[in-house]
Symmetry: C2
Subunit: 676 residues, 2 copies
């Protein structure tokens, strides 16, 4: 258990051997010497009617000398046995624990309950090597290889050249007992010895890293237990070369050393972050043997030292799209000298290895329902599909969702407004800020917010405030603030030729926080780009609705799905089926780190995914224009309407008149801008 | 022709395709575009009764536009055709030329007429890559790989990481036409793209190098034509750390940075030598894509950066014995950034990759006769065997054969005596020196030798002078100079308690050149060690005689087999079957460079060779003592006696007496010394 596999074995068979012959993965480093303690199992006692057997600790051999020594020296939890030493004497139900530090088969994601089955690319193998013999003058390394074949079945091992000069001293230091770190990724590739250690080396780590334009996030994981030892993040230092991706590409184009400087900066940041997670986890960075990276295409290229200029212009040609694997030292990542590095494949010029990671994590292709997966950043990456077909695209949402281009916008930080409600009767707002639990209309809010002040509106709250303005009738479905309301509400204030909504008057020294007509236009443009991209993929799939929606990325974690749908960022869907999945790209990297089968899985899937280039689709412009309206000019939102009272929709008319053509042409300009 | 393979093909089949389907190797870089000119063939015209066909140039398609363009631009020898363009129209006998620069299938060894069939690890493949397409957003590298699979059949290509950042600019510079350098060694390993060049790159080179203790020798070879472009040598700069191998091991043991200094020195010398052969051949060192090295075990270890201390003491443990393959840059060899480096396997702690190279070159295991292969240096490496069994050992001959430990000995250089004859009647010598054609008793010798003088005796002449002294009765079969002869010959001179033979009185300022009793003892010790080793292997094989003898190395090239046999360096054998084969180790390296099948061949053979450690064999001492006599105390030399009048042999007695035990015990000390 829990695999449920069963078999019959001769009395005296070690449980570990029985597990292996059933194809049940139980870790072991020492090769059955009862010294590493990785192979723990537990006997379930009782009458198992389902299996028609009685399982009892009487049916397993008592602890022998070796196992008792292990228990004495290293300690063994109650009921736990070492499966390499415990032998089958009768009927048994055996539990392979899934949750312990020493022998966890699985890791638990922060954001979900999903478990990752382990099949890491790195395995630690202890062997006792024959001493040199003049009659059989095989070299030290060659006898090591022979023993790794004999004890562990490794054939045709290749050797990382860096440690060849050290083999003889390591063998002698370990008194001929050594642990080899073996790396094998693809089954068609020959395995590599990537490290060698005197005696028993009972630990090996890996990192999974997502290089975002703004943030670099990393997990440090034990490859032997699957446990996430530390997770951390840092700012991408490339920000000093340009806030967004396109400005970084421009920097490369305009500065001869720009590419090199940015490559150096991001590799340095990754190395610093490795130092940080290692310090947090109490791990030596030289015990990291495997690294998996995901990134958007431009970060991916810069990290690998590739000029990203081609990605800044049609046809958005990737220098390399497939998965890559080489020595970490090839690109100056400072971990074990023999560590390998794997990058997930990129899906297209605008849909990177990060989207591949998120796709691996959420697995639309693993299920029958139509899943929409969106990762909103400066570009929104959109994947839509199910078991039979997956399509992907990116859409240029711009930075509005991140609070940029918004008059009172700011990044998420203490003092930023993160929640907003507007009373539809009085049009009065209430809001919450980051760092304070109380709503602004509750007693004590002003006092609690005094240290930070109320400084602006963060990305998630912009969605809410615009959606609430729409629900309360302040703005029309076309996104125009109704100036007539200025007569009845002091919250509607004139602002040149348009109107604004006053969210907060600003105390002494604090800014006055308003939502302007321009702010609403910026959000409309962004959400229209996203929705048009989604709609395009739905058309490719021939579906009118999606079954389930996954919001990846930080933005998705903070927005309320209801408001996202009211605004028409995402198509109509049962609200319970809209889920934030956090850094799904990083989770995908983690999966690829812990199980090399997931690498093959996503490599294969990326080859199958159909890539749609929105700029080349003739109806993108019309979809974009329709999506400028709230929630949409043409699409109904029946499931949303069941849960939220939406304003009555204007009849779709084509009356002409002065105002409409002017707005239309403005929308068209915006659509062109979004496509450029 | 010349393979003799034949087949039937549809009219219109290109000759290149026909050759390939028959398994006949015809080079091609451009992939049938008639631009590289590598695939030349020739039609043999006439009535071929043996094949029952009439072959005629009328049966091959006339030159098309592409082939004519190649002929116009690059030139095509008369009767030559490009097999990619020439199509079969009727019966043809096709000759694949073996000897041209542009299309040599083979290379000719300097020392023999043997040809090496080519199957290099590196292949150059021109492809035209699809331009980027937004609808199919595969990366540049990925489309390159796809085209290499489509046009050339390469599957699962790995990529040398160093050029990934350059792929996009190379493709664009070549206007999407590029040549990939592909390296595949073992069939079980995945092939690697190791370099990429815009347009057609129609050349690729390799080096084969033998790192000897004294000399480093190198061939520079075109991997596409098989032509040896340049061959050269240089002194091993490690000589400054110690003349012989053991003094270099001592240097490592006594100096903390000794190993590193010697590794650096030899790698620098190799890099300098690469510069030299490249200058000679007019080749850019960055066009070298493959390197094969052989060396004795201590040089092998030092070159790879491995501490050789273990090789200086029992059990003479090699750190690595198997063949290795990695990037040339891993050990700082300055060639193409993507070049691979292969080292042949070592046979045992004293029998290195150089002996493996010589074994590959001479191939005792490829034939039925019993072949003795000896490479004489400070250690003699000895290989004995045939198709069914091969045994190998080394024997500590010491430096006497190289002129060291000899009172008038010197290295081979102008002025050194290289040939000696002694008149058995008068005991007067005549000799020749390096740099002068005349013998010393010919008119004009003194004048001709004036510039260099006569400065000493080189290694090959020491063999001759001792053998001639024996043949002329000056020394007994025990190697003792007969003092009684001093009465009748002024050439026999007293020298303390022993006598010497005066070879040359020395003109003004020149040294007096004599052969002392000690010199003869040194030669006896060296030749006894060699012969005892050979005898031990003969005993292992259960043979009384060998069928053929190969002398590898510089020493073997200069000595006269007759004198070597008279002295009893080598066992009795038909003198016509004793051949010098020059630097057979280097030839073996060349074979492994030009044909990767030879790598598998020698890897497999080295695994089969039985290694004999002379120091562990109980009867080595007796064999050594027997071999102190000239030619041997117990072994008859019947075949030698047919061609050379040997002095009458003393009856083998065991009389005791004063002299014998004393000499015996001295010989035993010598035997112990030789084994230590």
């Amino acid at each position: 258990m829990p695999s449920g596999k069963r078999g019959r074995f001769p009395v005296g068979t070690p449980v570990l051997d029985a597990a292996r012959s059933l194809g049940v993965y139980v870790e072991s480093v020492c090769g059955g010497r009862a010294t590493c303690g990785r192979c723990q199992i537990e006997v379930q006692e009782g009458n198992f009617a389902k299996h028609k057997i009685v399982s009892s600790n009487d049916h397993i051999s008592p602890k022998g000398a070796k196992e008792e020594r292990y228990e004495r020296v290293r300690g063994l939890p109650e009921h736990r046995r070492l499966s390499c030493s415990a032998m089958i004497l009768g009927d048994l139900v055996i539990d392979v624990p899934q949750d312990t530090v020493i022998n966890a088969q699985t890791i638990r994601k922060a954001a979900s309950d999903r478990v990752i089955e382990r099949n890491a690319a790195v395995q630690m193998c202890y062997v006792e090597v024959d001493e040199p013999d003049m009659h059989k003058p095989l070299g030290d390394l060659d006898r090591l290889k022979a023993m790794l074949e004999k004890d562990w079945g490794w054939k045709d091992l290749l050797v990382a050249p860096h440690f060849i000069p050290e083999v003889q001293s390591i063998l002698r230091k370990g008194n001929w007992g050594v642990t080899a770190a073996i790396h094998r990724d693809m089954d068609s590739s020959r395995p590599f010895i990537i490290g060698l250690y005197p005696g028993l080396k009972n630990e090996a780590y890996g990192i999974a890293c997502d290089i975002g334009s703004t943030t670099i996030a990393m997990h440090l994981v034990s490859l032997l237990s699957g446990r996430v030892v530390a997770s951390s993040g840092t700012s991408n230092p490339q920000i000093r070369f340009g806030e967004d991706l396109m400005s970084r590409v421009s920097y490369v184009m305009m500065n001869p050393d720009g590419r090199e400087a940015m490559t150096k900066a991001v590799r340095q940041a990754v190395n610093d972050l490795i130092g940080k997670v290692c310090a947090e986890g109490g791990v030596d960075r030289h015990d990291i043997f495997d690294c998996v990276f995901v990134a958007n295409p431009i970060m991916h290229h810069l990290f690998l030292g590739i000029d990203p200029t081609e990605l800044g212009q049609a046809p958005f040609a990737l220098a390399v799209s497939g998965a890559l694997q080489f020595w970490a030292s090839d690109i100056e990542i400072e971990v074990s000298r023999g560590a390998r590095l794997y990058t997930l494949p990129c899906i297209a010029g605008h849909v990177g290895a990060d989207a591949a990671g998120a796709t691996l994590s959420e697995g639309p292709y693993r299920q029958d329902r139509m899943m929409l997966l969106v990762d909103v950043g400066t570009n929104a990456e959109i994947v839509l599909g199910n078991r039979s077909r997956v399509v992907a695209a990116s859409s240029p949402t711009g930075p509005a969702f991140e609070g940029a281009e918004i008059s009172s916008g700011q990044r998420a930080a203490p003092g930023a407004i993160e929640r907003v409600r507007i009373d539809p009767q009085t049009l009065e707002p209430k809001y919450r800020i980051i760092g304070v639990d109380k709503w602004s209309d509750e007693d004590g809010f002003e006092e609690a917010s005094r240290t930070t002040g109320v400084t602006g509106i963060c990305g998630s709250a912009i969605i809410e405030v615009v959606a609430e303005m729409y629900l309360s009738g302040i703005i029309s479905e076309d996104g125009v603030i109704d100036g007539a309301l200025a007569a009845t509400s002091p919250r509607i204030v004139e602002n040149g030729r348009t109107f604004s909504y006053l969210l907060r008057e600003g105390q002494a020294g604090e800014p006055r926080i308003t939502v302007t007509q321009n702010d609403i236009r910026a959000i409309q443009l962004a959400k229209a780009a996203l929705y048009a991209g989604v709609k395009l993929l739905m058309e490719k799939q021939g579906v009118e609705a999606v079954d389930t929606i996954r919001f990846a990325g930080a933005f998705g974690s903070f927005i309320d799905p209801k408001y996202a749908m009211v605004l028409g960022l995402i198509p109509d869907c049962d609200l319970a089926e809209v889920k934030a999945v956090g850094n799904a790209a990083g989770t995908g990297a983690l999966m690829a780190l812990l199980n090399r089968d997931h690498r093959r899985e996503i490599e294969k899937e990326v080859g199958r995914i159909e890539k749609i280039e929105t700029a080349l689709e003739p109806n993108f412009q019309q979809l974009f224009i329709d999506a400028m309206a709230l929630p949409n000019k043409v699409d109904p939102f029946p499931k949303l309407a069941e849960q939220v009272k939406l304003p009555a929709r204007k009849a779709v008319t084509d009356t002409g008149g002065d105002a409409v053509p002017r707005r239309r042409s403005r929308d068209e300009r915006a659509a062109r801008r979004a496509r450029s």
